[in-house]
């Protein structure tokens, strides 16, 4: 049934496109990339517009604007997290400061997810084999997908730019067409670069999951490097080492520096060429890393479904641990120096983000919030991996043998929980290492506690995921990432604006005490773990009663 539908889609599309096999690939990729480009461009545009419009309402008088600039503009912690904040007395400066870092990271995430999906994901699913049937080379097909992705990127930019230009027109905002277009270029620049990064990792990695993880790690490192550069440690030159730094150096709306477009364009072009070259150098469906088609048998973990899950998912989970450890270490490094600059209303922003206390404590509060989000991704990844095992009918290999569904799911849950706890411990221990190296004077136990404190929200996400998996399996991935995305959005919005308490409560991260500034709230944590496990239990019971379902 579903296979029929898939094949029909594959067959009609080329007929409609009516071109050579390679241009069919380009057309299909472009169609998918454009669709998500429109959606994300809309989100980008609305985010920019809302920032431009709210500035005038929030900061009416010159005095208010000066106060804003005096506090935010000089805080090293703010600049480390969100980038430098010049000209906060203007709507332009405020908009850049308020949303550019968020959009840069979102754009990068869009880029790497879209390109790994359309390159490695499509290839993994075997669709390419059907489309190509040996009529074109993998190298040419990859070039065509990249062309399709380029069309998606232009769409993202165009939609962002249209909304930005329109919202800049009112006299209360007063941003011209030229600066608006340039700003939009800056906001999609990370998308361009990470489309290319994803294209390269798609050639390197054997699975889409690993390709996306590698690209995300590169994003994490880029963010970390520019964080150090902006943390006022006398290392601002490092900004030129990070792709995110180049975008920062475009300085849209404040003091434009179009020269910074050079490294961005060069980086994107070089990686695109490298991706196409690598595609030509490997076999269909194979990869550069671990691309061997033969191997000795390694039977150590292959005793059952849980062991296999560990073997198959360890690369991805270790990737997350690297990201968590690296970011925790970076925050540990800058905690002392940037913490000293937190005062006045900056403190308020930090506390809205969930951080209490002052100095290093507050920096760690925000740091651990970000770690909590990363650990949330680990949880979501575990649930979606379990669902893919079902939808790709790998699960059948176990449950037609003497393995009960409960044993399979229970094993997967235990693996997931261990991964989450170890993630939390890693965040605490490595954060402490970073802090200790700067003699910040934070105690090991308090940071370890703060690390473990990050696990309960992830358990809630895990539980909601398993509940969905048991009751509405096909919605699993959408629901977990929606819960995560929503919680993240509430955290970001809650950090700046005034959001009602009941809205904040819908974010799983809101119920987590912001250790180490305050001690972990073990009672709330217990409730979260209870909710998560109860949801997982109900999901597990529902899973036992239902049909196994394909994609």
């Amino acid at each position: 049934m579903r296979a029929d539908r898939g094949i029909r889609a594959r067959i009609t599309a080329p007929v409609r496109a009516g071109g050579s096999p390679a241009s069919v690939v380009a057309a299909l990729s472009a169609r998918k990339a454009v669709r998500s480009g429109v959606l994300w461009g809309y989100i980008f545009g609305v985010a920019i517009a809302s920032s431009e419009i709210t500035y005038g309402r929030l900061y009416k008088t010159a005095a208010q604007r000066d106060a804003l600039a005096a506090t935010y503009g000089t805080s090293k912690a703010m600049s480390a997290l969100f980038g430098p904040a010049p000209q906060l007395q203007t709507v332009s400066g405020f908009t850049v400061f308020k949303i550019s870092m968020t959009l840069m990271i979102l754009g990068a995430a869009w880029g790497l997810l879209t390109s790994t999906r359309l390159l490695r994901g499509e290839e993994d699913s075997g669709r390419w084999d059907l489309l190509l049937c040996g009529q074109t080379t993998r190298q040419r097909a990859t070039a065509q997908v990249i062309a399709g992705l380029g069309v998606g990127l232009v769409t993202l930019w165009a939609v962002t730019a249209i909304i930005t230009v329109l919202s800049g027109r009112p006299s209360s905002v007063g941003i011209g067409v030229g600066p608006s277009l340039y700003f939009s270029v800056g906001m999609v620049a990370t998308a361009a670069m990470f489309l290319a990064v994803g294209a390269v990792t798609s050639q390197l990695a054997a699975t889409r999951r690993l390709a996306a993880t590698l690209a995300a790690e590169f994003l994490g490192v880029s963010y970390g490097v520019r964080l150090i550069a902006d943390a006022g440690m006398g290392l601002h030159g490092l900004i030129w080492v990070s792709p995110l730094g180049w975008v920062e150096e475009l300085r849209p709306l404040t003091s434009p520096q179009p020269l910074a477009l050079l490294p961005i364009v060069a980086f994107t072009a070089v990686l695109a060429v490298v991706a196409v070259r690598l595609a030509g150098a490997r076999d269909a469906g194979a990869s550069i890393l671990a691309g061997r088609d033969r191997g000795d048998a390694h039977l150590r973990l292959l005793y059952g479904p849980s062991g296999l899950a560990i073997r198959l998912l360890r690369a991805t989970v270790i990737g997350w641990w690297v990201a968590i450890g690296l970011s925790a270490f970076l925050y540990g490094l800058i905690a002392k120096s940037t913490g000293a600059t937190i005062s006045g209303s900056v403190k308020e922003v930090f506390s809205k983000l969930g951080a209490t206390g002052s100095g290093a404590d507050a920096v760690f509060g925000v740091c651990f919030l970000i770690e909590a989000i990363l650990i949330g991704f680990v949880a979501a990844g575990q649930v979606t991996a379990a669902r893919s095992e079902e939808s790709e009918s790998m699960l059948e290999n176990f449950v037609v043998r003497p393995v009960s569904r409960s044993a399979w799911l229970g094993g997967r849950l235990v693996v997931a929980l261990v991964a989450l706890v170890l993630s939390g411990v890693a965040a605490g221990v490595v954060g402490w290492l970073g802090a200790a190296s700067q003699h910040t004077g934070m105690s090991f136990t308090s940071l370890l506690g703060a690390g473990v404190n990050l696990v309960p929200p992830a358990v809630v996400i895990l539980g909601i995921g398993v509940l969905t998996f048991g009751t509405r399996p096909r919605a699993t991935s959408i629901v977990v990432y929606a819960v995560l995305g929503w919680s993240l959005l509430i955290v970001i919005v809650g950090g700046f604006g005034t959001v009602g308490h009941w809205v904040l409560d819908t974010s799983v991260f809101h119920h987590m005490a912001s250790a180490p500034g305050v001690p972990p709230n073990w009672e709330a944590n217990g409730i979260m773990i209870g909710i998560g496990l109860a949801a997982a239990l109900i999901g597990g019971l529902a899973f036992r009663r239902r049909d196994l379902q394909g994609a």
Partner: protein, 300 residues
């Protein structure tokens, strides 16, 4: 109640997907040691039946048991005694053939390793290759070996030879004969009629979720028409008026027709008309199947 001779048994087993009735009150019984073929046009409900037997899907109505164990309530106990091969199964791309077989033997618990190695040899499989590097046929061999190596009491096979070359198809038939000789029961769903004809003691034909025919090949042939070809020295008689005869095609002095029921009236007419050559042939399973399916097409 089942007797201890029953390997597989369903009672009013039904499955609906929304409005689609995929399986409609199926009553089926397979005796121990039997090799039973399970046929039907695409979408007849064969895979649906097998998924219900394996506990992968939940029945809308009815029940199924294997060796007296309830398929839905005691899946683990049932699965200890059976092995399943699907024609469209997926394996883990990053494991090698050897790793896959090792994992699946450990999951099953009781595997005769010497027999496993013999099977690898017989099917000419290179187990050092990763699953992603296997061709369709080699991929299928891994799945077949994984099932056969367990030497289960019941083999449930759903289009098991899809993608195999004729040589490997032969090896597969050899394995099924071996299984039968050892007293294993085989439930084989297939579109390859020669395979079913060569292997199966009994055959069931499913159409639109209903079992429309079940019996030995001999029984089913009996129900069906015999093809008769005759050549005449003199003028060709009109055979279409003879009782039981249908589908008469004349071609010069040659006539071909089909006979149902007793052949006696036809023989009498032929004898008196001066037949010089006579050829009669029992229908192949393929013809039986096409006759069944064809009736459906004409009706629908």
């Amino acid at each position: 109640m089942h007797t201890s001779d029953t390997a597989l048994r369903t009672e009013g087993l039904s499955k609906r997907f929304g409005d689609i009735v995929a399986l409609d009150h199926l009553d089926l019984e397979v005796t121990r040691g039997e090799v039973v073929g399970y046929l039907g046009p695409n979408g007849a409900g064969k895979t649906t039946t097998i998924r219900l037997l394996l506990g992968l899907s939940r029945p809308t109505e009815g029940r199924a048991e294997i060796f007296g164990l309830d398929c839905q309530r005691q899946p683990v106990e049932t699965h200890r005694r059976l092995a399943f091969v699907a024609g469209d199964a997926n394996l883990w791309p990053s494991l090698t053939g050897a790793e896959t077989l090792a994992l699946l033997s450990r999951v099953h618990g009781q595997v005769d390793e010497a027999y496993r190695d013999a099977l690898i040899e017989r099917f000419d499989l290179d187990p050092t290759k990763k699953v992603r590097a296997y061709s369709k046929g080699n991929h299928q061999k891994v799945i077949l070996i994984a099932a056969l190596m367990v030497r289960p009491d019941l083999l449930v096979l759903d289009e098991p030879t899809s993608g195999l070359d004729p040589l490997m198809e032969q090896a597969f038939r050899h394995c099924v004969h071996e299984a039968k000789d050892r007293g294993q029961t085989v439930f084989l769903s297939s579109h390859i009629m020669s395979e079913v004809e060569a292997l199966c003691d009994r055959v069931g034909i499913l159409r639109d979720g209903r079992l429309v025919e079940m019996g030995t090949l001999a029984e089913m042939r009996h129900l069906s028409a015999l093809t008769v070809e005759a050549r005449f020295a003199r003028t060709v008689p009109d055979l279409s008026v003879v009782p039981g005869v249908s589908a008469v095609e004349a071609n010069g002095s040659m006539v071909r027709c089909q006979v149902r029921g007793s052949i006696e009236p036809l023989v009498k007419v032929l004898a008196s008309a001066g037949v010089t050559e006579l050829l009669s042939r029992e229908p192949s399973l393929e013809e039986l199947f096409l006759a069944q399916y064809g009736a459906d097409c004409r009706a629908g």
